[in-house]
Symmetry: C2
Subunit: 254 residues, 2 copies
């Protein structure tokens, strides 16, 4: 069964946040990612090659499945090299309960702009056992196709919330709120908690002033050798990884 | 003075590796990056807005400077949001001396494919004081515009060599050769050296067999909680950052 032009148009329209919101859906491509998402998100429709469909056992819940040729998939796909399967899933919205932060380690993103960075952060949060990420309303949309692809399936295990960060932080009771700053304290010389909030800022501007005022543990990732002339910063996903790794090292391996 | 159509065509042609090689040049855009590169690379030509040009003091060595309007810059630029200046620089090739690896910590990349990942790795290498990166011939081209932009100027301080990795490693004498593997040893429980080679592999396939055989210190970045179900891997730039940060922590802060 061929894919209709309307369906191809619909898939391509999901590059737009407005359209994704209206429809409450998002697009995912490739066998690894789609297989990770099945069972976590409701699938509105799916198209796969004969080989991929034959390899799957648990597609009975999906009402709308189309078998496609590689050529048809390529016309529908947003990827340079389309891979076997493409699916449209329903978005999930989460209730933001500040209590989560009192009992586990969470991330907060203050206006991270690049969807690739956001997706990469979700992927590494998954690796480091961080299950909740709180994003400021101006942070990139996690349901952007580039963000979804970069999560590599992490989005099935990490909850991404959108919420007002100052309001969230003010509602926390005696919880450590960490952030990285040029005038912060060497992360390797600070005791790091197993719960609380780690705030990461925008690619260009870092953490905004309104949020900075609410940080009670300022950290710094030292460069090496210390005080050498270098680029002034790390990419936000890279800095997030170094910070999360150090939190987990202190919890499990110190 | 307007920019000629030929020049715009020339700039756009530098997206192609073949063209960059023929001309032995590369493109860089934006004030932060261009200012970092001036003085490290010979500039073949540069075009900047009136404001940017007025803000610069050391452009006297550059023979070919064009003042452009924002609109003209936008036509020449490969960036979504062109920023004030664009320049074409001459590539540098480095002599690969294995002795470097005996005296300092270096990275080796075995077929890292994505230019963005490569550029991000150069940027973080700069932060962590790693001055030499050895790339397999099939690794992405560091002079790809996406790679150059992602270095954020790190390319002015980090030497990127292209060389046969097995040959390089065989020429090393008693130097630790590290790599990350799923069956490696917990990086936080291993003493890490201040010199030697850290090998990072391809995004999909990891480190190739021929190189794996030559690794004498297999490492593993533990996830958290240990053995939890997660995505199976970290992005290669993320893993590189976590590894480099731990090497430097052990050297300076343990």
């Amino acid at each position: 069964m061929a894919i209709s032009k309307n369906r191809i148009k619909y898939i391509h329209s999901l590059e737009l946040k407005k359209k994704r919101k209206e429809e409450n859906v998002f697009l995912a491509e490739g066998p690894k990612l789609v297989e990770d998402l099945l069972g976590h998100f409701d699938c509105r429709f799916l198209m796969g090659t004969r080989e991929w469909l034959a390899s799957q056992k648990n597609l009975t819940d999906i009402q709308d499945i189309t078998e496609v040729t590689e050529e048809e998939l390529a016309r529908a796909s947003l990827q340079k090299t389309p891979q076997q399967v493409l699916a449209v899933f329903e978005q999930l919205q989460y209730m933001t309960d500040p209590k989560i932060v009192e009992h586990s380690l969470c991330l907060a993103l203050d206006d991270v702009q690049d969807p690739g960075n956001l997706g990469t952060i979700v992927r590494l949060a998954d690796w480091f056992g961080i299950e909740d990420i709180f994003c400021s309303p101006n942070t990139a949309d996690i349901y952007n196709p580039k963000a979804i692809q970069a999560t590599m399936g992490g989005i099935a295990r990490v909850r991404v919330h959108y919420t007002d960060l100052p309001e969230l932080i003010r509602s926390l009771n005696g919880v450590p709120v960490y952030g990285t700053f040029l005038d912060g304290k060497n992360i390797y010389e600070q005791p790091l908690s197993e719960h609380g909030l780690i705030i990461m800022g925008n690619e260009g501007k870092g953490i905004g002033r309104d949020v900075e005022q609410l940080v009670n543990r300022k950290l710094y990732i030292p460069n090496y050798p210390v005080s050498r002339e270098t680029s002034e910063s790390l990419n936000v996903a890279i800095a997030t990884a170094v910070v999360c790794a150090e939190f987990r090292r202190q919890a499990a391996w110190r």
